[in-house]
């Protein structure tokens, strides 16, 4: 069988060209963030990207236990002016005084932004991955989220019609994989990774360890290999 294992991050993203749409797993901070794939994409320099992720990139700023500069996330793609549109939920800076690169570019009219409730973000990726045409979601009714969207009352409650997100690529950070693409994650590093993997046409994974088929108990697999297309083992010295 054609191997899903690639030998470098650069090779694994070879076909991410200008204008591509990429879902990036993770939640905030380095936990479950595909840092090495993001670095490779920064180095490749593809432009006019649309990114789908929870945050708009936080690695420039300290948040909770995460210290600015100790890890990378997609903020570096904004710094490098590679992004045309950001779809996410927690898109601003957590700091009351400092703006993120995304916010500065948004204020300058250089980046388009679509802000969603966090649960709606995952639900729209679910719809993309699961072949649903749309989902009626109660979150955001009576807020700016409903602007320009269809609403409907179902059994006396108001809902917003939300449509699928189907990114071409996903960047996923996993803990262990087998060579057929089955993945497991560790604790809070799971977060948005499985739903990004499910939604994308081409899911690219960076992973601590790759084992032979049979090395993962079938009952504990979180992302079945059907959703995984390329994998790179994080080498010594890679971002963890």
């Amino acid at each position: 069988m054609t191997s899903k294992v690639f030998s470098s991050f650069a090779e694994a993203i070879y076909d991410i060209g200008d204008g591509a749409t990429i879902a990036i797993g993770g939640f905030g901070g380095s936990v479950g963030m595909a840092q090495n794939l993001i670095l490779a994409l920064r180095d490749k320099g593809s432009k006019d990207l649309t990114l789908i992720s929870n945050t708009g990139g936080l690695c420039e700023l300290s948040l909770g236990g995460f210290i600015a500069g100790t890890y990378v996330d997609h903020a570096i793609l904004f710094q490098n002016k590679q992004v045309k549109k950001m779809i996410g939920s927690y898109l601003g800076s957590p700091s009351p005084t400092t703006l993120s690169s995304l916010e500065k570019q948004w204020q300058a009219g250089e980046v388009e932004v679509e802000t969603l409730p966090q649960g709606t973000l995952s639900a729209r990726m679910l719809a993309g991955g699961a072949g649903y045409g749309g989902i009626y979601i109660p979150t955001g009714v009576g807020t700016i989220v409903e602007k320009g969207k269809e609403k409907r009352i179902i059994h006396g409650k108001e809902y917003i019609l939300e449509f699928p997100l189907k990114p071409e690529f996903a960047f996923v950070r996993a803990y262990k994989a087998d060579t057929t693409g089955n993945l497991i994650y560790r604790l809070a590093a799971r977060n948005m990774n499985p739903i990004a993997a499910k939604a994308a046409s081409v899911t690219i994974v960076e992973v601590d360890e790759i084992v032979d088929p049979g090395g993962l108990d079938p009952d504990i697999i979180v992302t079945p290999g059907i959703y995984v297309h390329r994998m790179v083992k994080i080498p010594k010295g890679g971002k963890k």
Partner: protein, 223 residues
């Protein structure tokens, strides 16, 4: 100026609402402090939007930290026996589907009918919705914990919110630094005042009319 409750004391008052076995989600900022004041003998299952149910207290620096175990605010937390991990979609199915018993959120403004504004101060950048809208819409019960007034002394409890809303008619209770208020279809009921405060003083800092409870109490701040 009269003494108001500090953040930690408010968090302790929030923790009095915890019932044994409850699933509770604590929002960013002040609410998260309540995780450290669970009454003895009670097990609370803290739910985190990033995909954890049943985590424990926040770990300060220098102690045993598991680098993969953080809460939604990026703080390291302790694992507890019975904890489970799931993906982000599942975390929000739990919230939106009404499986979370109690949500505690911070707020910029709350209106008399329970509208909540807590995600966006239009003076400031792009705004962060995060999980706030889902939590406000989906929880069985929503408590807001906040300072009663803005820094320049204006009521954060209003007839109508002026900031962009998080959700309409979602707040069940407000625990502020001077009072505990229940929101009911009949209006806002002042249930408790902070030590040294009268109901008239609380009303004077609150835009909507408050109905003073027959059994108005002083807030009990023991834990």
């Amino acid at each position: 100026m009269k003494r108001t409750l500090d953040n930690e004391t408010m968090a302790k008052r929030v923790a009095q609402e915890f019932e044994d076995g409850m699933v509770v989600n604590l929002g960013f900022g002040m609410p998260i402090l309540a995780a450290n004041f669970v009454p003895e003998g009670k097990r609370i299952f803290f739910h985190a939007e990033n995909g954890i149910l049943g985590y424990g207290s926040i770990i300060q620096e220098g102690q045993d930290i598991d680098p993969d175990l953080i809460n939604p605010g990026g703080l390291y937390v302790r694992p507890l026996p019975g904890m489970s991990v799931f993906n982000h979609e599942e975390a929000f199915d739990m919230i939106r589907g009404g499986h979370v018993d109690l949500v505690v959120l911070g707020a910029l403004q709350v209106s008399k009918n329970g509208d909540l504004a807590n995600w966006f101060n239009p003076a400031k950048g792009i705004g962060n919705i995060g999980g706030a809208m889902d939590l406000a819409v989906g929880a069985k019960k929503v408590i807001v914990v906040m300072e009663h007034t803005t820094k320049d002394g204006k009521s954060k409890i209003l007839n109508e919110c002026t900031f962009p809303l998080t959700a309409r008619e979602c707040v069940d209770m407000i625990i502020s630094d001077i009072a505990t208020i229940e929101l009911t279809p009949g209006g806002m009921i002042l249930k408790e005042v902070a030590p040294g405060w009268s109901s008239e003083e609380v009303q004077s800092l609150t835009e909507p009319h408050l109905i003073v409870a027959d059994d108005l109490k002083e807030m009990d701040l023991r834990v």
